[in-house]
């Protein structure tokens, strides 16, 4: 197996509406920035691996067809990956696997979403005959899980609000973040409208237009790169059925299995000790403590204590989502890849104001569907 490294990272400035560009122009912007970071040209790329959110979200059924020219794919392999909200992560993993397997030497991977062209609430709540109504968009699906988490652990009411404040404070340090709420504090979150009780407006992610791209390469490519690479130390995906009797949706088995696999590949015995920073997929604030437990950073029932202690803020022992996370920028199809890319930026010492000092190993995490798809990678400053 070959080693794989990230040598180019690009993203757009994420916004509610990017009406100045087409979808092609949007992905081009991120891809061109990734190529510039790697100091490569379109002709240097061997293959393109593309991901986006489910088709109804923006009504583009074959993005690989529409975007082949915008991504310089003529005469090259191009493919599209689907795994709902985790797609940005699994797309990067498919791209990395083509390098690890020795099939390609330099791969461009891109993920995007232009939410302004559609309505995710509509896309998630169709009235299909014979099917029970999904209650009300993603919030209606996930709010009962959040309630179950709070009930099981006895977490105080304000932990979700603390996450909402912390991630938005981080976003103020990230020039690409969509939500930049000056003076964000607990009172502002508490006073925001309750949408899907117990989830308040400011505890939810925004709808964003944006794209993310990375250039992945092998050991020779990493040696030739102009800037320090991030090395892939491990990568894994897992899934589980969305419905089965006794399913633990608050702490899904697929997430635990995926984490165990990726830690074993990276020789991580104790994630809390061995990982310096993590970008995890938190679309609703309470998913931070839930995933801290699922990922093994905290014991079952203790995730909220870790959040409440301040450990997960920039400056804490294990900063979570220094970029501002999904709560601050949510181009759904790209949100998973942004987590993976931000993890790589951290170990490349490339994160500017939201850099975690001395970050050597980072986790990128994404989940999707009804908490049923998981994608994770561990990246490091040192060659594995």
């Amino acid at each position: 197996m070959n080693r794989c490294a990230i040598i180019g990272i690009g993203q757009t400035h994420h916004k509610a509406k990017r009406q100045d560009v087409s979808i092609a122009g949007l992905v081009r912007e991120a891809a061109a920035r990734a190529l510039a970071d790697a100091e490569l040209d379109w002709k240097d790329i061997d293959a393109v691996v593309l991901g986006k959110a489910p088709d109804m979200f923006e009504g583009v059924m074959m993005p690989e067809l529409y975007l082949a020219d915008a991504l310089g794919a003529a005469g090259k392999p191009i493919m599209r990956v689907h795994t709902a909200g985790s797609v940005g992560g699994s797309t990067a993993i498919v791209a990395a696997q083509t390098v690890i397997s020795g099939v390609h030497r330099r791969v461009l991977t891109v993920a995007f979403e232009k939410q302004s062209e559609s309505d995710a609430m509509w896309a998630l709540s169709p009235r299909i005959p014979f099917q029970p109504q999904l209650t009300a968009g993603a919030g209606g699906y996930f709010a009962p899980l959040v309630r179950a988490y709070i009930h099981r652990t006895g977490a105080p009411d304000d932990v979700g609000m603390m996450v909402a404040v912390k991630d938005r404070q981080h976003a103020l340090k990230n020039p690409y973040a969509h939500l930049r709420i000056k003076g964000i504090d607990l009172a502002m979150v508490r006073d925001s409208p309750m949408l899907w009780d117990p989830i308040r407006y400011l505890e939810t992610c925004p709808s964003s237009d944006g794209a993310c791209a990375m250039v992945l390469t092998d050991e020779d490519g990493a040696r030739a790169a102009p800037r320090p690479p991030a090395w892939v130390h491990g990568l894994a995906t897992r899934s589980e059925p969305v419905v089965f009797a006794g399913r633990n949706q608050v702490d899904p088995q697929a997430g635990r299995d995926c984490a165990r696999d990726v830690y074993a590949q990276a020789r991580i015995a104790d994630p809390r000790r061995d990982i310096d920073v993590a970008e995890i997929y938190v679309p609703f604030s309470w998913f931070e403590p839930m995933w801290l437990e699922n990922l093994g950073f905290a014991a079952s029932g203790d995730g909220w204590r870790m959040t409440a202690s301040g450990v997960t803020a920039l400056g804490g022992a294990l900063p979570i989502n220094p970029s501002g996370g999904v709560l601050s920028s949510n181009p759904i199809g790209a949100s998973g890849m942004l987590r993976f890319a931000e993890a790589a930026m951290q170990v490349r010492d490339q994160a500017g104001e939201h850099q975690v000092d001395g970050a050597r190993r980072a986790l990128g995490h994404a989940y999707g569907g009804g908490s049923q798809f998981f994608a994770m990678w561990i990246v490091g400053r040192d060659r594995p």
Binding site: D20, E58, G72, T135, H151, W196, N248
Partner: protein, 330 residues
């Protein structure tokens, strides 16, 4: 009974209008169409692409706009004998690739030739413009065979448009609506159909997996964990326990009531999977996990093969179930 007759079927239309942003290159092309003008774009290799794209086949960004046409040559075509509702013309016409004068690529559009006998590869055509133009590919109604009269009409339309454009303060074209509508016939399948038919008789019938013994609602052709049919019929109670819930306070199009209202997961007695439904008869802020609830059915004459045969659930007033009873169910 014939199996096909057991399966419920219903029409379903998936319909939405996406709002596309054009980007500068496509927007300029659509703006030119609004002015009854055809424009291409010059690529890095010097060729002229019509309709324009933002990037050429080599992945390079395309360059300056170039006026092409208005006439062109049919490079290939297919005759449509029975136009469909969505087609641009109500009578037989040709779909053709038309290479406009000055262009190096051909564009697909309709040719209104009157008869298949009037169509041939290599024939010259000119545009016929809509009178009302909005910045859409439909502003170009179709092409017609070139003749003195057709050429004069096209030239007159272009002249009128350019006179109008001189005093034009309309904003550039940056957006266009993109309606989609897909018609499906949805079939419920045997297991779901049986479950729904029982609801029309005020019965809730699940299916037991013979391997793990879990009772699924509705019964399933394959148990998600064991892979064998989970369809041995088991009648479950119409009362149970709220395992978790959400108070919906956000209004949205498909909402059953004005908010706030409670959406609950109910584990019916005898089932191993909760069903999602509405809870009424209690202020939303008093809903609790573990609350015991029962189904409120619609009147007899409103019963049908649908979960809507249960209007909603309401509290029974009995003491709440202990947490252990719901801990393994969401």
């Amino acid at each position: 009974m014939d199996r096909d007759e057991e399966v419920l079927e219903a029409p379903y239309r998936l319909e939405y209008t996406y709002q596309r942003s054009t980007g500068p290159v496509i927007g300029r092309f659509l703006g030119a169409l609004r002015d009854a003008r055809l424009e291409g774009v010059r690529t890095a290799s010097g060729s002229v692409m019509v309709p324009p794209l933002e990037y050429d086949a080599d992945g390079a960004a395309t360059g300056e706009p170039t006026v092409v046409g208005p006439g062109g040559v049919v490079t290939t075509w297919a005759w449509v004998t029975e136009p469909r509702r969505e087609h641009p013309l109500p009578h037989p016409f040709a779909w053709a690739l038309v290479r406009l004068d000055g262009a190096d690529s051909a564009m697909l559009h309709a040719v209104d030739a009157g008869s298949i006998d009037a169509m041939r590869t290599g024939m010259r055509v000119v545009p016929r413009w809509q009178d009302e133009r909005t910045g859409s590919i439909r502003d170009l109604a179709c092409f017609v065979p070139e003749s003195a009269a057709a050429a004069a009409a096209a030239a007159a339309a272009a002249a009128a448009a350019s006179a109008a454009a001189a005093g034009d303060d309309r904003p550039p074209v940056t957006m266009f609506p993109s309606p989609v509508a897909l018609d499906y016939t949805v079939t419920a399948g045997r297991h779901l159909s049986a479950y729904l038919r029982a609801l029309a008789e005020r019965r809730i019938v699940g299916g037991r997996c013979p391997v793990c013994t879990k009772v699924y609602l509705p019964p399933r052709g394959a148990c998600p964990t064991c892979g064998v049919p989970a369809d041995a019929p088991v009648e479950v109670a119409d009362h149970g326990v709220v395992t978790t819930f959400c108070i919906i306070r956000i209004p949205f199009d498909a909402a059953p009531f004005p908010p706030p209202y409670a959406s609950v997961a109910v584990l019916l007695e005898g089932a191993d999977m909760p069903i999602f439904h509405l809870l009424r008869g209690i202020p939303p802020e008093e809903v609790r996990m573990g609350m015991r609830v029962r189904a409120v059915w619609v009147a007899d004459d409103q019963l049908g093969p649908t979960l809507a045969s249960i209007r909603w659930f309401e509290p029974t007033g009995e003491p709440d179930a202990p947490h252990d009873q719901i801990a393994r169910h969401l």
